[in-house]
């Protein structure tokens, strides 16, 4: 015991000696650091101070060319060009007001330029250069170059600007880029992409410009340059070239797009055309539209107010974010549900008196035709859009079966199109109503769901996709705007293959009934007979109207006395050629009243051009192919 204790004290004694050595070791090495600091920061301060001020070597990022966006025939929808900009680095300027005043003697600086400069300056660090003027012409650039010595901290830079040569055409599909803001910075930092944006000012903000940002941007290069005392580059020491962004090739055809947009005239609304076999989006219209070129340079307050506060809502991407009741265009899908669920065996027919009532209720669910249609079977119910037939069918199906069946056609879920911001629409169920309103589901709500009224809401894209799935016999292919991605340097193309999302097994005889009903819609006696007249190919279609305001039980809907914006929305879905469909369309014309008369003709113009290459009788926009061609892109096969 005693020896152990002694041993313990002995050990502790030696340990403390070692610890003392360690402490001396720490103090010595920290002293070495302190001496080093003294050497660098006190005795050689002047030397390093000079070095820092004239830091001889600087790393300059080289921003890559952003990828081009082309239509399926190689027509340029978005490209870049160089412009001279006059830029100020706030940290290097002592008297900003005086500098800008002196600059405006040399080159024109408008009040708009000043406002924009102020806005950008607040958003950036004082060491970053901020443009005071863009798009300098050569005379202005030369004038400034001669006087450059008078303006320390002011520089001429050559920057790439994005330009959309076709302006408003397809703006909601192509999208636009804008200056990188704080939100963009945070998401870039999170994704780890921030270092690639050194020197970049712009980022995709909407449409495919946003969705394919990582492809379009490219990889930033770097140049190591020697700098003189004034901060001007004297000599390039080494450089890593940037890799330009990939080009995107869309499935849309700009000529078809122009025809479709023109066909809307002054109406508001949306159109989506899809190739049901491939999912290619052939046309994507949101009317009214806007000029994306306004956003590239930072939109000014006046134009922003004009666009943002307009009651026509030109900035809303209607195909993706506009929600409308599907109205009668919902009926073919309800019909198929009834056939597939065995609720309506083919010879079944009703005697339509013009209204439907629930048992033990006096409430009349009216047909659009006063007095009714007489004897109506399934096929005819679609052709003449008989409401009474579908009221009863929906009731017998029940809301759960109805919604779970039509969900296969893409209703109530996102289509997965390559543009961000899509909304889901709404397929109502009793559970949904309980969650949303804390109320139970009433049978009457099932009845009106049968004709696409009530809570059901769809986007034009969903309606087009549902039509495409129907045309394709139940196979859902993800809609795609971009079909090919092309490497800018090698020209090598990566083709994005169609993605099958869902496949609902349908009885061929049932599909045949619904399809025939839809073909008859465009034949004499159908609700859109005029649309099919002299077409030269067969069209399967369905018209629809959706109420904007409710009509009371004993009130009459009178178009002539109503506010234009309270008129019904006109809907139209179609696919053609009916035997072997290559195009499926959904159209919504806001306050367009009747699907057959306002929306139908638009569809006809689009299909005539797509299927027959026929131009509409009225001249449309000038041929875009003449104004812009691109040599990188070979001819794309039209299928």
């Amino acid at each position: 015991m005693r020896a152990e204790l002694k041993n313990y004290q002995h050990e502790q004694y030696y340990f403390k000696i070692r610890l003392a050595f360690a402490a001396i070791f720490v103090v010595t090495l920290f002293s070495v650091l302190a001496v080093r600091f003294f050497y660098l920061q006190i005795s050689h301060y002047d030397h390093y101070q000079t070095l820092a001020e004239n830091n001889r070597i600087s790393l300059v990022p080289i921003v890559p060319n952003r990828g081009l966006i082309l239509d399926r025939n190689g027509v340029v929808l978005a490209h870049n060009f160089f412009v001279y900009t006059l830029e100020i680095t706030p940290a290097k300027v002592k008297d900003m007001e005086a500098t800008i005043a002196a600059l405006s003697q040399l080159v024109e600086v408008s009040s708009l330029d000043r406002k924009r400069f102020k806005k950008f300056r607040e958003q950036s660090h004082s060491f970053e250069s901020v443009p005071i003027r863009t798009h300098l012409n050569e005379v202005e650039a030369a004038k400034f170059a001669v006087n450059h010595y008078r303006f320390p901290g002011v520089e001429i830079k050559s920057r790439l600007f994005r330009h959309y040569p076709l302006g408003k055409l397809g703006a909601h599909m192509v999208g636009y880029i804008g200056r990188i803001n704080d939100k963009d910075l945070i998401s870039l930092e999170k994704s780890g992409g921030l270092s690639n944006y050194k020197g970049s000012d712009h980022i995709g903000k909407s449409g495919v410009e946003q969705y394919y940002e990582s492809h379009l941007h490219g990889t930033t290069g770097f140049q190591q340059v020697e700098i003189d005392a004034d901060g001007h580059a004297v000599r390039v020491l080494s450089s890593t070239p940037p890799v330009p962004g990939d080009n995107l090739i869309l499935s849309a055809d700009s000529k078809l797009q122009a025809i479709a947009e023109e066909a809307f005239g002054d109406y508001r609304g949306a159109l989506v055309a899809i190739n049901p076999k491939t999912g290619e989006v052939l046309s994507y219209v949101s009317q009214p539209t806007f000029d994306p070129n306004l956003f590239v340079d930072g939109i000014d307050v006046e134009n922003w107010k004009l666009l943002n506060e307009s009651i026509d809502k030109p900035l809303v991407n209607r195909p993706l974010r506009g929600i409308y009741p599907p109205g009668s265009t919902f009926k073919p899908f309800v019909a198929l549900a009834g056939l597939e669920e065995g609720k309506r065996e083919p010879p079944f027919a009703i005697q339509d008196a013009g209204y439907f009532t629930l048992p033990n209720s006096a409430h009349r669910y009216r047909d659009w035709k006063v007095g009714g249609h007489g004897v109506v079977d399934m096929q005819r119910a679609i052709t003449i859009s008989c409401d009474t037939f579908f009221y009863g069918l929906a009731m017998e199906l029940g809301i759960d079966k109805l919604t779970s069946f039509v969900r296969h056609f893409g209703f109530g879920r996102k289509s997965g199109i390559d543009i961000h911001g899509e909304i889901e629409g709404l397929l109502p169920t009793p559970e949904w109503k309980m969650r949303r309103f804390k109320q139970k589901w009433y049978p009457g709500e099932t009845v009106i769901t049968g004709i696409g009224q009530g809570y059901t809401l769809v986007t034009p894209l969903q309606l087009a996709q549902a039509t495409a799935i129907l045309a394709n016999g139940g196979v859902a292919i993800q809609p795609r705007i971009v079909t090919q991605i092309q490497k800018a340097i090698t020209g090598e193309r990566q083709i994005i293959p169609p993605v099958v999302q869902d496949k609902v097994i349908l009885n061929a005889a049932n599909i045949a009934i619904v399809k025939q009903g839809m073909i008859d819609v465009t034949l004499p006696g159908g609700t859109a007979a005029s649309v099919g007249a002299n077409a030269g190919y067969s069209i399967a279609a369905k018209t629809g109207t959706a109420q904007v305001i409710g009509i009371k039980q004993n009130e009459k809907y009178n178009e002539s006395t109503m506010n234009e914006r309270h008129l019904d929305h006109a809907l139209f879905i179609a696919y053609a050629p009916a035997e072997d469909p290559t195009i499926a369309i959904a159209i919504i014309v806001e306050n367009g009243r009747h699907g057959g008369s306002t929306a139908g003709p638009i569809a006809r113009k689009v299909m005539d051009y797509y299927l027959l290459g026929k131009m509409p009788l009225v001249a449309v926009a000038p041929n875009p192919i003449d104004s812009a061609t691109n040599h990188l892109v070979e001819e794309v096969q039209h299928d």
Binding site: F15, L19, A22, V26, I42, A52, N55, L59, H125, E189
Partner: protein, 364 residues
Amino acid sequence: MISRLLGRLFKHIDSFLMATLFFTLIVGLFVLYSASGQSFARVNAQLVNILVALSLMWVAANVSPNQLERAALPLFGLGVLLLIGVALFGEVSHGARRWLNLGITTIQPSEIMRIAMPMMLAWFFAKKEGTPTTMDFCVGGLILLIPVGLIMKQPDLGTALLISASGFYIIFLAGLNWRIILGAVVGLGALMPIFWSMLHDYQRKRIEILLDPTQDPLGAGYHTIQAVIALGSGGAVGKGWLEGTQAQLDFLPERTTDFIFAVFGEEFGFLGNILLLGLFSLIIMRGLVIASQAQSTFARLLAGSITLTFFTYAFVNIGMVSGILPVVGVPLPLISYGGTSMVSLCISFGILMSIQTHKKLVAT
């Protein structure tokens, strides 16, 4: 009532150590804000790292030294197994194989070794009852070399050096004969050419450039040259917070991680640097006091090694940034951005606190 609850909650937290750590972490957040180009996102992410690290420190402080001693061997064994796993199945990132994918999460087993190595050696020498023989030191050396060899192979020179240091400190404090230490220094000097030939090309280049940074001012020497310019131009009192031109103008590479000290030195100058060294010295001093008062061989060896390893971190990083040591990937402790090193550091401080606060009252 509440004060008693708080008292129990912080029973195992050493207030002096905690205060100095806390102050250093706050300084670090300010430097990080400047170094990241005034990014709140970066500062927030670091705050999360700190919160996680401090919670784990609290856990470590509540584990008694006896429990740690029992855990030493299993933890070390696990660490070695994982390192072998990395060598065989590890994921390659940035040309180095350091990560192991366990299905649920990826881990860097060399980080476990930072704590397991000193624990293992302290456990080993504690079993020798304070009178280790030369043979024991040879076995200790072997325990040290196996994991270090595996880590060097990854390759991760910085971590290998720090883990060797942490093991060497235990061996030194356990009473390794001075003659052997001298012999080892001479022997290592003689082995330098062999060591040199084992290094990877980029590691060799770093050392060559340290000797003469101007031979490659744009490539590997760029880091050092720019960092030294940043420090030197800071002068006596610095350019002021957020005013460092080298840092704000992107001249400095990796300025939120390994080179953050250059930002600090540029903005706070000689005075700031000395104060930071002072702050680090206070932490080290407290650690040495804890080691000298520790009651078991295991506890005192471990406390001594943890403290001296912390010092080594700081010295190697600052030495590297100020151009007197080669560029090895070692962050500045408590200041550099990053979660992994923050966590392993705080756990080791938790162990120090545990050693200090689990003492039994005994007459001496």
